[in-house]
């Protein structure tokens, strides 16, 4: 409530002063009362009322602003000299800019780099996080999600239950890659499986022909709708495509339409090529069909809320029917505790107006931090421009004094300076648009975005263009207003005397320099923290050494695999032997899961003695061959590794990690203790004796605390009911081994079984992928910070140098009166140190606040790092003092006799 009132109060500032003065308090009072009355009718009503009142105020403020602007333009045209039209004024401004080419180029370049980076980043943020889906009324779209997750997916029975419950209008989609196209040219095609009402729910109309509809369910001739992009790229935009047949894996479909341009699905960074009714899936995928399966959790459910409905209300309605919905996927014989937990995890309707973006979810926080950082850089560039333009104003003070003495109004003196600022910053922002395109491309290619996602981040998008225009106005206004006001306040007498009010001139220069230093230091601190976060994360102990490892993923091309249970165990042993026979392989081991693969198998364990339950814990589970711990360099703390004797049908054995030892309250020594496994639904398995304890290691994700983990011997994988693919062989090359090992590993394994696919990946890629967001943040923030520091130091040099030149006459008089060079140095440095101190202090405070906000945004926690704060300040202080010394040296070392002669 208070925040909304504060916002309303802030927006009131946009109204004409007279309206504000006469009715401001009344408006605030009415706003508060209306809001309080609306709250009594529920939070949704209050939100709508607040939004309506804020919109109303914004609209009135814009109308007032446009009236003021019209008055301003009338005033400007009246104040311009007769015959000096806009063209003439522009040419004069250009000529002035040409008179100091270095400063002009510096302004254009700094504005171009900073606004280009800002626009590029905004284009990426807009495409991934902000832009509404190109569908009808996207604000009313929601995803059916579970708990705090937004990207929940569901099995078919749950989709059917939700559809039946009619809590709100729903549609479903799923994705897969298939081989498809025209019969003579099959390619990999991204297929969007949609329920009949998908396109209707989104309110879309076909670009050509028609879209998939409810009437397509169970149709004898299956249909397909092409995406606009696919239609243009594969069919050359041929309107005769309707009615042609399209091959998709095992089926032949009839093309009935083309989706509207710009629509690539709700998943914005993964566009579809062909949309097909979900009921057609068994025809296309044959035996691999997952339609109807309660175990394939791949379906996303999108809903459209009715007029006046809200996500909160819809979530409440979902929760009311959730036990019935979830009961559809319970397996027979499950444990009641498990079922109760599963049934109570709350469903909710999550707003999805801007679509679902995997890249946005993963890189969004870093992107916001970068946008904040680049905002600092833009502010720095604007301050720099203001300094340089202010210096020009001071140089022209005699001319401005003459104008003022001849009766020019302050506005007439200031207007050309504003125009000059607009001209230079305008050129900078225009040039920045080219940099923006490169910046977005670099960023998106760094995160391995699809061509579709890259195409969306265009600097020509309306919102991005508007952003650039707002930047231009803000930068031009800030950088032009300071010198323009300075010029408008020119005292004709002082200016004509040739002695500018030194005190005031120095104060303005000091404020601008301190401002630049503060912004630059804040940038350096944020970059320093980003680097520290990345380094801390990269050096995080994982519990194994993944560097140099190669992982071969083994899978079968056809599913389901005939006789998998009979073949799987033997296959891994043979693959391991084949790899070990390569002279370059140092060690190799097979496993069901490899760390950081994103896959996990879990189980629940009871610790017991003679069958008596003592404690329980949920753990991760892996099946590994002997040598797995040695290959991953995970330390065996106690006991032994698995042996070939731990065979199928033999006594059950397990190796556990320390985290499990701590999680289980066993009152017997852990080594030799017996644990009793249960599957996810608490169904019991045979008891296992702990034969070894290993160091903790992360399992599924890089950032997790190593979870309690149980390792079981590979030979017992089939007995334990885990005959599944893919499986992996991890290989550590012999030190100094030849590099092209991946190809040799693949060749050694590929022919072990018909239809076997082998994919060899360096483990380092997973490590790099896990910290890519932080790496990118550190690299880009450092680049921006270095650019900022360079701008600040050059800006400081420019201002100090100009000021020192202005003070040369004063210095010359002091020297001729007997002042020593040392005293002049001390005078120059005293002022510099004062400005530097104020700038650095402000920068430390700003950097501390922004740094904390940035760390919170990316979910990182760092201990207090005085080195970052002190080190960056020292770096900037040294660079600035060097610039000051060079500039001041010119004034101090000037020849007094020559100067006094020249100025007289």
């Amino acid at each position: 409530m208070k925040v909304l009132e504060a916002l309303y109060r802030l927006l009131l500032l946009g109204l004409e002063r007279e309206t504000r003065r006469r009715h401001g308090d009344e408006m605030l009072h009415a706003f508060a009362r209306a809001l309080s009355d609306a709250r009594e009718q529920g939070s949704a009503r209050a939100a709508r009322t607040a939004a309506a009142m804020l919109t109303d105020l914004t609209r009135c403020a814009l109308a007032d602003a446009s009236r003021s602007a019209a008055r301003f333009v009338r005033e400007v045209s009246r104040s311009l000299p007769a015959g000096a039209g806009p063209g003439r004024q522009l040419s004069l401004a250009l000529r002035r800019a040409q008179r100091s080419p270095i400063a002009s180029v510096a302004i254009v370049a700094s504005v171009a780099l900073s606004t280009g980076a800002a626009t590029g980043l905004f284009a990426v943020a807009d495409s991934l996080l902000l832009r509404p889906l190109p569908v009808h009324d996207p604000d009313r779209l929601v995803l059916v999600a579970e708990g705090q997750r937004r990207n929940s997916s569901w099995p078919y029975p749950i989709w059917k239950e939700i559809e039946r419950a009619r809590v709100f209008d729903v549609a479903a989609w799923d994705r897969s890659s298939q081989r498809g196209g025209l019969r003579d040219g099959l390619v990999k095609v991204e297929v969007l499986w949609v329920s009949g009402g998908y396109f209707e729910l989104l309110g879309l109309r076909a670009h050509l022909g028609r879209l998939v509809s409810e009437a397509d369910a169970g149709r004898a001739a299956p249909v397909a709708v092409l995406s606009h992009r696919f239609w243009r790229s594969r069919f050359g935009g041929d309107t005769g495509v309707l009615g042609r047949s399209l091959v998709l894996d095992e089926a032949e479909l009839v093309v009935v339409g083309v989706a509207p341009e710009g629509f690539g699905g709700i998943e914005v960074d993964r566009a579809f090529d062909v949309a097909v009714p979900y009921d057609t899936e068994p025809l296309v995928r044959g035996e691999r069909s997952t339609l109807g399966s309660p175990y394939d959790w791949g379906i996303r459910i999108v809903g459209r809320l009715g007029e006046g409905d809200s996500p909160d209300a819809a979530s409440a309605r979902l929760r009311a029917v959730q036990p019935r919905i979830k009961a559809a996927t319970l397996r027979p014989g499950g444990a009641p505790e498990y079922e109760a937990e599963y049934l109570s995890d709350p469903l909710r309707a999550a707003p999805v107006a801007s679509g679902v973006s995997w890249l946005g979810d993963r890189y969004g926080p870093a992107l916001w931090v970068l946008l904040g950082t680049v905002g600092l850089l833009v502010a720095l560039a604007a301050t720099n421009t203001a300094s340089l333009l202010a210096a020009r104003v001071l140089r022209r003070r005699t001319e401005l004094g003459v104008h003022s003495a001849l009766g020019a109004t302050p506005f007439r003196i200031a207007a050309p300076i504003l125009l000059e600022s607009l001209l230079l910053t305008g050129a900078g922002v225009a040039l920045g648009q080219c940099i923006a395109a490169g910046c977005s491309r670099y960023l998106l290619s760094s995160v391995e975005a699809t061509p579709h996602a890259m195409g969306r981040a265009s600097p020509l998008e309306l919102r991005v263009v508007l952003f650039a225009v707002v930047l231009l106005v803000a930068v031009a206004a800030f950088s032009g207003l300071v010198p323009a006001l300075r010029a408008a306040r020119t005292d004709p007498l002082a200016a004509l005397r040739g002695s500018a009010s030194g005190e005031r001139r120095g104060r303005l220069a000091g404020v601008l320099v301190a401002n630049q230093l503060a912004l630059s230091l804040a940038l350096l601190i944020v970059a320093g923290l980003a680097i520290q976060t990345f380094l801390a994360l990269a050096a995080r102990p994982l519990g194994f050494d993944g560097r140099g490892l190669l992982v071969a993923k083994l899978d079968f091309e056809e599913h389901p695999v005939p006789d998998l249970a009979a073949r799987l165990e033997r296959l891994v042993w043979r693959a391991r032997e084949a790899v070990l026979s390569l002279p370059e392989a140092g060690s190799a081991a097979g496993s069901l899961v490899t760390p950081l693969s994103g896959m996990a198998t879990s189980a629940v364990w009871f610790c017991g003695d003679g069958g008596a339950t003592r404690g329980t814990g949920s753990t991760h589970l892996n099946f590994v061959t002997p040598g797995w711990f040695a290959t991953y360099r995970t330390r065996l703390v106690a006991g032994r590794d698995f042996l070939p004797e731990d065979a199928a049908g033999g006594p059950g054995v397990a190796i556990v990690n320390r985290a499990l030892a701590e999680a289980l309250p066993c009152d017997v020594p852990l080594l030799g203790a017996v644990i009793h496994p249960r599957d996810e639904q608490l169904r019991p398995g045979p008891p296992l004796t702990i034969v070894g304890i290993v160091e903790d290691a992360v399992y599924r994700s890089y950032r997790e605390t190593p979870p309690p983990t149980v390792y079981r011997p590979w030979s017992q994988v089939v007995d334990a009911g885990f005959a599944m693919t893919p499986v992996s062989i991890s290989v550590r090359p012999r030190p100094g081994a030849a590099v092209p090992l991946p190809g040799r590993i693949e060749a050694a394994i590929r022919d072990l079984a018909p239809g076997l696919s082998v994919e060899v990946e360096p483990f380092a890629r997973r490590l790099e992928h896990a910290v890519r967001s932080e790496h990118l943040l550190a690299v880009i923030a450092s680049g921006l910070a270095l650019l900022g520091a360079l701008l600040a130091v050059l800006g400081t040099y420019g201002v100090v140098s100009h000021e020192a030149t202005g003070r040369q006459r004063e210095a010359a008089i002091r020297v001729s009166l007997g002042a020593s060079t040392t005293s002049l140095w001390l005078l120059a440095l005293r002022r510099a140190v004062l400005v530097l101190g104020v700038g650095l202090l402000a920068g430390e405070i700003l950097g501390f606040a922004l740094g904390r906000a940035a760390l919170a945004r990316i979910g990182a926690t760092l201990p207090a790092t005085p080195l970052t704060y002190a080190g960056t300040a020292a770096l900037l202080a040294v660079a600035t003092l060097a610039a000051v010394a060079i500039a001041a040296g010119r004034a101090v070392n000037a020849q007094p006799s020559r100067l006094l002669r020249e100025t007289d």
């Binding site: 007279e18 309206t19 009715h23 408006m27 605030l28 009072h29 009415a30 109303d56 009135c60």
Partner: protein, 112 residues
């Protein structure tokens, strides 16, 4: 100001008409005008604070509305009332609308 001058302000902007109509009975403060308009129009017309007070300011400047000197002492709840000119302008607008309705009836656009 005579009748002719009152007609120079016609036709009234919708927000002007709503505020004048609202004040035709008693003097009201701003929030009461907001509520009255919303109730009278069944929520179809909402005059939110910025539009309402912008309108009041314009009506004050045209001399159609003034703040009631005997109203609330609280400057945040000032009461407003019609001036004689405001009443005259409202009546003129109503006559204009009446004529229009009469014309529409005569041409069968709406039933009588």
């Amino acid at each position: 100001m005579g009748r002719r001058e009152a007609e120079a302000l016609l036709p009234l902007k919708p927000s002007w008409l709503q505020v004048l109509l609202s004040l035709a009975g008693d003097a009201r403060h701003g929030y009461a005008i907001m509520q009255e308009v919303a109730e009278r129009t069944g929520g179809k017309v909402r005059l939110w604070p910025a539009t309402l007070y912008g309108t009041i300011r314009q009506l004050e400047e045209e001399g159609l509305v003034r703040s009631d000197p005997h109203g609330s002492d609280d400057p945040r709840r000032r009461c407003y009332q019609l001036t004689p000119l405001g009443r005259e302008v409202l009546a003129a607008e109503m006559r204009r609308l009446e004529q229009l309705v009469r014309l529409a009836r005569a041409r069968g656009v709406v039933g009588s």
